[in-house]
């Protein structure tokens, strides 16, 4: 089981990360990769840039905890989570998740589970720039509903 979790300022290469995940495995039949990209518009108005702040150490630990949950729930053969921090402009990669499994259903479900977590509860704070105006983004409740479907009681 290959688990890679990295928080970094620099960009990443989806193809290279997929190759690392698959290398030496002939039991992997499916890799699902999600790439999150900085858009030029959020909530209906133009965004010129965003800055992601994180809590080093805690961010990695929190993400690792959710990767473990995914591993316990689906028969995964590898997981990669890479999240950038710092200032990003529209078109820049923000983050990627890759999940590897024997079959596509587990890979898709685990990738969606991790994405719902990362987009809503992951240890990041987002500062959006609209021209000269900078504003910290509030936590979204619509995204919280997306994470609720994974909750087992």
């Amino acid at each position: 089981m290959t688990v890679t979790i990295r928080l970094q300022q620099e960009d990443f290469d989806v193809g290279a990360e997929n190759a690392v995940l698959a290398r030496g495995h002939t039991d992997i039949g499916a890799i699902v990769t999600f790439t999150g990209i900085c858009r030029d518009s959020e909530a209906g108005s133009d965004v010129s840039a965003m800055t992601l702040e994180h809590y080093p150490g805690m961010a990695e630990a929190e993400i690792a905890r959710h990767v473990e949950t995914a591993q316990a729930r689906w028969p995964l053969l590898g997981v990669t989570v890479i999240h950038r921090y710092g200032r990003l402009v529209p078109g820049d990669n923000i983050m990627m998740v890759a999940t590897a499994s024997a079959h596509r259903q587990a890979a898709f479900a685990a990738a969606e589970f991790l994405m719902d977590y990362l987009k809503t509860q992951a240890p990041f704070w987002k500062l959006e720039e609209r021209g000269r105006d900078k504003k910290w983004v509030d936590a979204k409740s619509s995204d919280d509903r997306a994470t609720e479907r994974w909750r087992k009681d």
Partner: protein, 83 residues
């Protein structure tokens, strides 16, 4: 004890982290926020709306009634907005 601030808390306090000597009458996260809020205008502004502020002790999320005595590092931050 090391105290960390993130996002608009960091901006309002004016620094990302600091070392403090924990006063003897501070035993929980709520006590600590109250004590910090009394340290000056910038702290009062940062901690004016305490019920939206989240805390972590040594990288683990905690509630306002969590004891702080054994902590090495305490962080305060707004609700995480995701990536």
């Amino acid at each position: 004890m090391k105290i960390l601030y993130f996002a608009w808390l960091r901006e309002r306090v004016g620094k990302p982290e600091e070392e403090i000597a924990l006063p003897s009458n501070v035993s929980t996260i709520a006590d600590l926020m109250e004590w910090l809020a009394g340290r000056g205008e910038e702290y009062a502004y940062a901690f004016e709306n305490r019920n939206v502020i989240r805390a972590a002790i040594d990288h683990v999320h905690v509630k306002a009634d969590a004891p702080v005595g054994a902590a090495r590092e305490i962080a305060f931050f707004p609700p995480m907005t995701g990536g």
